[in-house]
């Protein structure tokens, strides 16, 4: 055991509780409490077949169909056979190995990082992995959650454990109350712009401070989701009353005495007052404005009131080259005001921003208004969809002229065929504005759901603040 009286961080406490053994070279074998698999995990299942091996803990492995699922039909035979094959393959792999699956026909199906928290599969203090980089999302509960590759997925399937070297710790404190209309997405994009898309590489982030404590679980999930976009191994928030209230009563979460015991243990997870971090960053929440990306990396983010950067204005040759490449791909001019950028469509969805609170925020801007551009609204799960429909949000989106569709990764990654056509510009609530991410030649501007809704209403990137109703 480590931690002999030394003050420890939240990250260290969760890590230390999962060390099975330590190798001479310092690598540690971590026990994994939750392993989430999706259609893309087929490479790992194939490795298992090659070895004629069995899944060690099917009871701790959960399958969710999300990356390839169609959002406009519930009938698999209506979609491209090779896409349908990906969904069936996950079903087959899960059934063959006795793994519980939220498959395409399950009423609880949705994006793996939405379903996990919603079903109570995600809990504080757990180790969670998935062959998807946005697994960092689950850190919102104070879980140690990170994305892994196919070789590691195979290793976890076989051994329920993973060799890891301990990353460094970084604390990002956001103090100072954010202004009305500022969301977790704006906080996250501001952080990434400040530290860079590789700013947190090799680090586990802990988010702390007043502005973070004030976030709902939905907001915390958005923030931790985007940890990977600053290069972090994971992002975590210490569990508190907000967390416990969210977990209580979820289908797969503990109840009764076990829950009481669990909450008592979870209260101990917060970083000790004098725990040391390798890096500490302080951000003033009052300085954060609605933020959008203009380029091809999430670090290319600026307040909506700013302008496209000028490569001639920087002395850094590498940075100048990146700006030139970005504005060329995005079809922008140096110095152009961000608010003048015309868009062709909007997408509201993805593991970053598709939860009920996200849909409410977008709907509150769109209510009684019309979208000037087409758009897709894809809730994060079918349970989110159901709740939104009970609240009448679907009517608001449809009346505004947007398409209200099913749940999945959809237009964030385009694997199911929901693509942004080449050359088109999309205001998107997703996580990556990489070249071609939403389709070959597609141009992506990242922003919050409210900002995407505002862009839909005006047909250009828009500061949502004047559109927010005081009576909302």
């Amino acid at each position: 055991m480590t931690g002999t009286g030394q003050p420890r961080t939240l990250f260290d406490k969760v890590w230390d509780a999962h060390v099975v053994t330590r190798r001479e070279d310092g690598a540690e074998l971590l026990f994994i409490d939750r392993h989430l698999v999706h259609e893309g995990s087929f490479h790992a299942f194939n490795k298992l077949k090659e070895k004629r091996a069995k899944v060690r803990r099917p009871d701790l492995t959960i399958g969710v169909a999300d990356h390839y699922v169609p959002t406009r039909t519930r009938i698999l035979s209506e979609i491209a056979p090779e896409v349908a094959g990906m969904i069936r393959q996950l079903d087959d792999n899960c059934r063959a190995n006795g793994i519980r699956i939220f498959g395409f026909d399950d009423p609880r199906q949705g994006i793996v990082h939405v379903v996990g928290p919603e079903q109570g599969l995600t809990l504080p203090g757990l180790t969670m992995v998935c062959g998807d980089s946005h697994t960092s999302t689950h850190g919102a509960f104070g879980a140690l959650a990170f994305g892994i590759g196919a070789s590691e997925v195979a290793h976890v399937l076989l051994t329920q454990s993973l060799w890891q070297k301990k990353p460094k710790r970084m604390r990002i404190t956001v103090d100072g109350d954010t202004a009305p209309g500022i969301t977790a997405k704006d906080i996250a994009l501001s952080i990434i712009a400040a530290i860079g898309a590789d700013g947190a590489q090799g680090h586990a982030i802990e988010y702390a401070g007043r502005a973070i404590r004030a976030l709902s679980m939905e907001g915390r999930l958005t923030l931790c989701n985007l940890s990977i976009e600053s290069g972090a191994r994971c992002g975590m928030i210490a569990p508190d009353e907000t967390t416990f209230a969210y977990v209580t009563g979820r289908p797969f979460a503990p109840g009764g005495d076990v829950l009481d015991r669990a909450i008592a243990a979870w209260r101990e997870l917060a970083s000790d007052a004098d725990a040391a971090f390798d890096r500490a960053i302080l951000i003033d929440g009052r300085d954060i404005a609605p933020t959008v990306t203009w380029g091809i990396s999430p670090e290319d983010a600026l307040p909506i009131t700013a302008s496209v950067p000028d490569p001639a204005a920087t002395d850094d040759a590498s940075r100048a080259s990146h700006i030139r490449e970005a504005i060329d791909y995005m079809g922008l001019r140096p110095g152009q005001a961000l608010e003048t950028i015309q868009i062709d469509r909007v997408f509201i969805g993805s593991c970053t921003n598709s939860r009920i609170e996200d849909l409410r925020a977008a709907a509150s801007v769109l209510a009684g208004r019309k979208a000037r551009v087409p758009g897709l609204v894809s809730p994060g799960s079918h349970l989110v969809k159901q709740q939104a429909e009970q609240e009448g949000l679907d009517r608001i989106f449809i009346d505004a002229g947007l398409d209200w569709v099913g749940a999945g990764c959809s237009m964030c990654v385009g694997m199911n065929g929901d693509l942004v056509p080449a050359g088109e510009r999309c205001a998107s609530t997703t996580n990556r504005n990489f070249k071609g991410r939403q389709g070959p030649g597609a141009r992506t501007h990242l922003m919050s759901p409210a900002m995407a809704a505002a862009a839909a209403v005006t047909g250009r990137l828009t500061d949502v603040r004047p559109l927010l109703r005081s009576d909302a």
Partner: protein, 206 residues
Amino acid sequence: MTPFGILTASACALPLASIDTDQLIPARFMKRSRADGYGQYLLHDMRFDETGQKRPDFPLNAASAADAEVLVARRNFGAGSSREAAVYALVDFGFRCVIAPSFGDIFASNAVNNGLLPAKVSEADAEEILALLQSSATTITVDLHDGLIRLGNRTFTFSIDPIWRTKLLNGWDDLDLTASLTGDIARFEQQDAGARPWIQLQDGSD
């Protein structure tokens, strides 16, 4: 896995920053079986235009790149998606080493699991190596024992996590080691079940 010791091979300069895994292998090619090979899809949308023709000015399309085993790029190489197919594409194309000032963590881990060396150099050294490759030299030596890169009459140092270095030098597969530790895992599971009963999934039927 083939151990990595000293590699002397031709190198390809790709002077771009933040080449993410979505560039390395666009999502639409990821339904394919590894057995079919991923090399032809490496950096597909940068290498080929909309009609499928090779872009003549893209470095990987140069005749000299055909047998390149070392790729040199700018910072934040392999950021983004955890898709190991990005590494498959590089390896299947013939690459055994990528040199850059920084790498996405998941990419680097996937690389090591496939015997591909992610060699981290300073930004200044990356710029110098890129410049040398674009002007004269094409053959590079990467020595994992000493952590050195030799190019023409210049020598550069690179860093890699010592754990990964050992793994690459020996060509180790994690699974082989873990297979001998199943008893330790079982003991952990047994102790943990009492300490944290909540890790067992509840029924879930609501």
